[in-house]
């Protein structure tokens, strides 16, 4: 066998992701965003002042961005009543085709203001601008476009039945994809002819308030969309309001349980999209380099603040060392830092509270004897940052292998056979997502079919499309968002 041993220098086998050629800072300008010092609510087609306020901060700098009103039960009551009036009024009588026009208009307005919305999303939530710019905002627009198309075709959603709106929907969304989650909630509800009251997350209300301005610009009849800011108490008031016909909630399993108890016997319809501990399964015949990208996309996308994150890596024991070595090299080229820098891959953790939760869980993993690998390099001095992290050497019984961390922390487990992979992947109270990596098509389909999870990706991870239903099994919730299935929770079928 010919070799080049004599002709090249032998050096230690290290890849140097160094600074021989550094990328200059490439910050996206925030001038495009006009922040108001104070935000109230959006009720009955008008912005209200609101009373007491809370602060929303930039998690990358801890700078206060604005004061935001905390909605009271009176605010919620006014919003629900406005939604009811709109339902009984022009919106309820409008044809599907006309409703569709409004949705198309909102979709186009989101596209027209895409850059501004992306910067605002990154400012308020800490996610890297390349994700808000390339994923969050385009997908939000795509959801409105997709459901706009359904508005006049609802008869085909449930063939052979008559369909109509459920009524007034109360919708509560999380802080990890603020505008995108608003779009997931608003678009199908409006396409089906409902009116709604939306409560954004208390940490990330700004893009929803900008969306309210765009909705006003789109001339949507007053009261069709109402947005009430606030935290848990505001959400409770909305959940418990007797004038609400349907609750849609995305967030933690604990709060989801609470909501389900609270509305039991009330006749309100409910969909819950809750936590997850997704398994990402790598078989030994997988395309390894692409699978490593899939691991990175699965757990480090959006700082791991993703309910469907691939946070449990199940890798076949025969390739464990190779995959781990490649993953560690790959993690060295991840750029952690300023979310507004266009070259940042991993931004800021959304809040101090979340950062502390991640730190606590990681400490428990170290205590349990796990080997922790973290991205090298400097972190910004201010703001909430956490290094992308990987635990190896832990058992399935470890706390970090079972609980949702909702941060950039991966736990690696091994398996020996496809049967064991399936068993381990399903061995969780959750069931939101899973990923399968194999070059063998038959194995992909066999394992995907055996997953007790609402979303299963084959040779990819964390890819989203408005045409595809999304939702959970078991403690990850029920109901689907996206696709034709996403219409059903917002339709009464006769």
């Amino acid at each position: 066998m010919a070799t080049n041993e004599s002709s090249t220098l032998r050096t230690p086998r290290r890849l140097l992701f160094g600074d021989l050629w550094t990328y200059a800072p490439a910050p996206e300008s925030r001038d495009i965003v006009r922040l108001q010092p104070r935000y109230g609510h959006f009720i009955d087609g008008a912005f209200t002042e609101g009373g007491e306020t809370m602060q929303t901060i930039n998690p990358a700098t801890e700078e206060v961005l604005a004061e935001v009103a905390v909605g009271t039960s009176e605010d919620v009551d006014r919003a629900v009543k406005a939604a009811r009036r709109a339902l009984d009024g022009p919106w309820g009588r409008m044809s599907g085709a006309e409703r569709g026009k409004f949705l198309y208009r909102i979709a186009r307005l989101i596209q027209e203001h895409a850059r501004e919305l992306a910067v605002l999303e990154s400012l308020d939530g800490g996610k890297p601008i390349r994700e808000s710019r390339d994923i969050d905002i385009p997908l939000a627009a795509a959801h409105f476009f997709y459901y706009a198309g359904w508005a006049d075709k609802l008869g085909y959603a449930v063939p052979g039945a008559q369909v109509g709106p459920v009524g007034v929907a109360g919708q509560i969304i999380p802080w990890n994809f603020p505008l995108l989650m608003a779009a997931w909630k608003l678009a199908p509800a409006l396409a089906c002819g409902n009116t709604l009251v939306l409560k954004p997350a208390e940490n990330t209300p700004l893009t929803a308030m900008r969306l309210a301005e765009l909705i006003l610009e789109a001339d949507l009849p007053p009261g069709v969309v109402n947005i009430v800011n606030g935290a848990g108490a505001t959400g409770s008031a909305l959940v418990e309001h007797p004038g609400v016909n349907k609750i849609a909630f995305t967030g933690s399993t604990a709060v989801g349980r609470h909501i389900q108890r609270a509305i039991a016997g009330s006749g309100k319809k409910l969909t819950l999209e809750l936590g997850g501990k997704g398994a990402n399964i790598i078989f030994e015949d997988a395309p390894i380099d692409q699978a490593v990208e899939g691991i990175v996309a699965g757990i480090f996308f959006n700082q791991g603040h993703v309910c469907c994150a691939g946070s449990r890596l199940l890798v076949q024991e025969s390739i464990h060392d190779e995959v781990m070595e490649k993953l560690r090299w790959r993690m060295q080229s991840l750029r952690v830092g300023d979310p507004l820098d266009k070259n940042t891959d991993v931004g800021a953790i959304n809040s101090r509270e979340q950062l502390e939760r991640i730190q606590t869980l990681v400490a428990s993993g170290v205590e349990a004897g796990g080997q922790l690998y973290q991205c090298p390099g400097d972190l910004p001095e201010k703001g909430f940052f956490f290094r992308p992290s990987v635990f190896t050497g832990l058992a399935q019984s470890a706390r970090v292998a079972q609980e949702e961390i909702f941060g950039p922390v991966l736990t690696v487990l091994t398996f020996r056979t496809p049967e064991e992979a399936i068993e381990r992947a399903n061995n969780t109270p959750y069931g939101l997502s899973a990923g399968v990596w194999s070059d063998k098509g038959s194995r992909l389909f066999m394992v995907a079919g055996a997953m007790r999870a609402g979303v299963v990706w084959g040779n990819t991870f964390n890819r989203f499309d408005p045409t595809s239903p999304f939702g959970g099994y078991k403690e990850s919730g029920f109901g689907r968002e996206g696709g034709r299935h996403g219409l059903l929770p917002y339709l009464e079928v006769r």
Binding site: M1, A2, T3, N4, E5, S7, T8, L9, R10, T11, P12, R13, R14, L15, L16, F17, G18, D19, L20, W21, T22, Y23, A24, A26, R130, D134, D285, A286, P287, I288, D289, Q290, E293, G294, E325, W329, S333, K342, N343, D439, N459, T460
Partner: protein, 299 residues
């Protein structure tokens, strides 16, 4: 074990995910100082190429002059090599002696490789004797596609031997191999058989170099390095025409193999029209204005 049997099994490659990864590199924002130093690096990595039936000594002398001094407006590094047909090696050798610029010759009956192995090896020896520092060989795609990978391994090993002191770049002609699995396998074979560089294309077949194909080859180089400590070079050739594209390739190399590969010893661009676009961008950075193409000499 010898020959093809000694080449380890290659991993599978997923096309969709590879394309997505390659596209991600193009979203990096390279501005200001990073852009300037990146573009100077691109020039220093360039194999300035002319491979036409109409090539003459005069044409090659023009190209060599451009290689030595790409522009007169401002200081600028010379390119890495001038790449010509074997018959024109003596001309290039004479023009470039003492400059540090390498003379590269395409040999082995470039671009098709359709000749007997003996004829192809003779051509390599003649090119080296005439003063070529680097040999760009083509593999027998016909042999590869009929499944005779052993032939491909052996021809590369024989060519490496015929090269003597000259460096060997192995052209896979990825546009004819087509699938990423084949590109990966051919890369592994070429590296095992003794290539100093692996190269995408002749420039005579479309598609020539693409980012995903180059990524697959970089991954083969990385895996070999991590296993053996031996550094193999990479040369995408054909189809890279703009400074922006070239920077995307640099980003891909940096983030796949690390900064150690950002040197002409380990990374080259095979190009002809790329140089003036890079010069134009450098002048824009220096002066703040785009200049007309007429201010940049033909190569």
């Amino acid at each position: 074990m010898s020959g093809i049997e000694s080449v380890r099994p290659s991993p599978t490659v997923d096309r969709v995910a590879t394309d997505a990864r390659a596209a991600a590199f193009t979203t990096r924002s390279i501005k200001k100082e990073a852009k300037r130093s990146g573009l100077e690096l691109v020039i220093s990595m360039m194999d300035l190429t002319t491979l036409e039936g109409a090539d003459t000594p005069g044409r090659v002398r023009e190209l060599c002059a451009k290689a030595k001094q790409p522009m007169v407006q401002a200081p600028c590094p010379p390119v890495a090599a001038v790449c010509v047909y074997p018959t024109l090696v003596p001309v290039a050798r004479q023009e470039l002696s003492g400059t540090g610029i390498q003379v590269a010759a395409v040999a082995t009956y470039f671009p098709s490789g359709q000749a007997t192995l003996q004829e192809r090896l003779d051509e390599v020896r003649r090119a080296v004797e005439a003063g070529a520092d680097e040999i760009d060989m083509v593999i027998s795609r016909g042999a590869y596609l009929r499944g005779d990978l052993g032939f491909v391994y052996d021809e590369i090993a024989s060519t490496r031997e015929a090269c003597g002191e000259a460096h060997l770049k192995v052209i896979l002609e990825t546009g004819e191999l087509q699938t990423y699995d084949r590109v990966r396998r051919a890369s592994d074979i070429a590296i095992a058989a003794g290539a100093h560089f692996i190269k995408t294309s002749t420039g005579k077949v479309s598609p020539a170099a693409t980012m995903p194909v180059t990524l697959v080859m970089l991954e083969a180089i990385r895996d070999h390095y991590l296993r053996t400590g031996e550094k193999i070079g990479m040369k995408p050739a054909g189809g890279i025409r703009t400074a922006k594209q070239a920077l995307h390739y640099l980003v891909m190399v940096k983030e796949t193999l690390g900064d150690a590969w950002l040197t002409p010893d380990l990374f080259r661009f095979g190009a002809s029209s790329l140089l003036n676009d890079v010069l134009m961008q450098l002048e824009k950075l220096r002066t703040g204005h785009y200049q007309s193409a007429r201010y940049f000499s033909l190569g």
